[in-house]
Amino acid sequence: MIAFAIRRIFQSIIVLLVVGLVAFAMFNFVGDPVDSMLGQERTDADVERVRTQLGLDKPFPVQYYRFLEGAIQGNFGISYRQGRPVSEMIAERLPATLELAFVSAFLAIIFGVTLGIFTAIYKKGWAANIIMTLSLIGVSLPTFLIGILLIYLFAVELSWLPSFGRGEVVDLGWWRTGFLTKSGLLAIILPAITLGLYQMTLIMRLVRSEMLEVLRQDYIRFARARGLKDRSIYFRHALKNTLVPVITVTGMQLGSIIAFAIITETVFQWPGVGLLFINSIRFVDIPVMAAYLMLISLMFVTINFIVDMLYFAIDPRVRLEKRGDEK
């Protein structure tokens, strides 16, 4: 277990170092930040001042060292476009993205597991068929079209829900939350559904196929023979054994929820880090791009590591296989 964990941590650090190198290369070789900050009307003195301010007059190794040092402390320099520290910009927008991701993941898991069990139990019923067909369409629709469709239905036609923004937020000092106001709660519904729909269909299909697999096994037949109630068989005997793959896939999907939040945030003008990232690409704002890249790789690497460890802890078969590998 420990050897496996150490090896995985080592691999994660290598991934992060590679990403860090890419981020640093972006700083050094992409465009001229002085151009993008000052525009066309400028004096030579302005150029000199900005170059010193950004540390661009130092030699390459010094810049690299400074970058690494800064990155470890969460300091990614100053945004070319807004002239503010990038860490500050990300910190004030991170709560919005995390709240959105959390609500979507929650919806995806609750509805995904429930519908998965339902379609597995009533696999020949008309309701299950409709759900499965809808899920196929849901998977093939691009995320942004789902968002636009929801906006059209619930914001334009029915005008039940807001179509953009976060509503009113409450400032808790270091975290601005939308969970405490009515408009904040209403505003999160549509973006969260848009973002969670794909993951929901994925979890649903997984739970369904795992359930069908388990329900065929002998111990389920024995449980029936013993005269246990259906509910007890489905939930206590069958569902429990489907959970291992569901946990791993859900864990892996957490990372993609945060990445796909970029699209949802743009559709709904949700003021999170994804929207910040898209705007930084549009205006080639390198420090913001680099910081986002580092942040999201850290998240991905951490999530993957935790999922691997969970997998290792939950499923004894993985442990045996790994030992087999090592020999």
């Binding site: 070789f29 079209l145 636009i148 990372g255 970029i262 699209i263 743009t266 690409i281 080639v284």
Partner: protein
């Protein structure tokens, strides 16, 4: 010569491939829908009733005409309506599809050439080259493709001079989407190469003194093409959606060369004022295109390689 053509024709007519095609309604429908859309895109300049990019032919009075209804000022009828500047939506869709499909095909071709080359080298040469290539592939696979494409788009855009950014955007898109999709090709080709390289015919070729490059290209490559074709079709659907998503987010095709994604982005602005046709028809076209190519890819996978199912 003629007999050879006839012979090939006979072989094609009796093949399993054609047989399973005629037995699958889904495949037939998606094939003809994709074909119609692709032909529409290729011949857009001849089919389109209006030229949406020539300001001289535009009449602002035609703006916001509803589909199939005569315009209230000019009395002209547009099948799918017009946008705010009087551009015919049907024509902009045809031209938009041209860009979407061009980016899709070019990106997949780029990803295919890169992935197949790297996969062949990794599988045939082995050693640290194999380890390095596959390590990069693994790292890239940890991240969703669309995120990789966005990042590469941003980086490459940074390298292009500011004046040329709009003109170059299409090519930047192709590079970004291509680089985000090479991994699948490389992995499959590497796996197949590992199997093929130990077979007798490869050993015979080696004994004959053929060079490694020759063996890779003329002996191994033809034998791994089946799965490559399947991945290429599925990648095409992914690339079309990726292109539309990036353009929709404003980091893809510029408004001067609108793709389907750009058209949807423009149309979103009119959603609240009731001009639904400006967004609905490009969105439907994108859906039909992506769905039909995707279904075709699924069918191809089942036919060419039942093991992959």
């Amino acid at each position: 010569m003629f007999t050879k053509i006839i012979e090939n024709f006979q072989r094609a007519r009796n093949s399993d491939f054609l047989y399973s095609f005629t037995k699958s309604p889904v495949a037939i429908i998606s094939f003809f829908i994709s074909l119609a859309l692709i032909l529409g895109a290729i011949f857009a300049p001849f089919i389109a009733p209006h030229d949406p990019f020539n300001p001289a032919t535009l009449n602002l009075m035609n703006g916001f005409s509803a589909p199939m209804q005569p315009n209230e000022f000019t009395g002209e009828i547009f099948w799918l309506g017009t946008d705010d500047q009087g551009r015919d939506v049907f024509s902009t869709i045809l031209f938009g599809m041209r860009i979407s499909l061009f980016v899709g095909f070019a990106a997949v071709a780029f990803a295919m050439v890169l992935g197949v080359t790297l996969g062949l080298i990794a599988g045939y040469v082995g050693g640290w080259i194999d380890a390095a290539i596959m390590r990069i592939a693994d790292v890239q696979l940890t991240f969703p493709g669309i995120l990789v494409a966005m990042l590469i788009f941003g980086i490459v855009k940074g390298f292009t001079p500011i004046e040329q950014r709009d003109e170059m955007a299409i090519w930047v898109l192709i590079i970004a989407i291509g680089l985000s999709e090479w991994v699948q090709f490389a992995r499959v080709v590497r796996g197949a190469t590992l199997v093929e390289k130990n077979k007798e015919y490869v050993q015979a070729a080696r004994l004959n003194g053929r060079s490694s490059t020759g063996i890779m290209l003329s002996h191994i490559l033809p034998n791994v093409l089946g799965p490559v074709l399947v991945i290429a079709t599925i990648s095409l659907a992914l690339a079309i959606i990726a292109e539309a998503t990036l353009s929709f987010l404003g980091v893809g095709a510029p408004p001067t060369q609108p793709s389907l994604g750009t058209l949807i982005r423009i149309g979103q602005g009119f959603l609240f004022s009731g001009e639904w046709w400006i967004i609905l028809f490009p969105a439907l076209t994108l859906l039909m295109l992506a769905l039909s190519v995707n279904l075709l890819g699924d069918w191809l996978r089942d036919v060419l390689n039942p093991k992959l199912r």
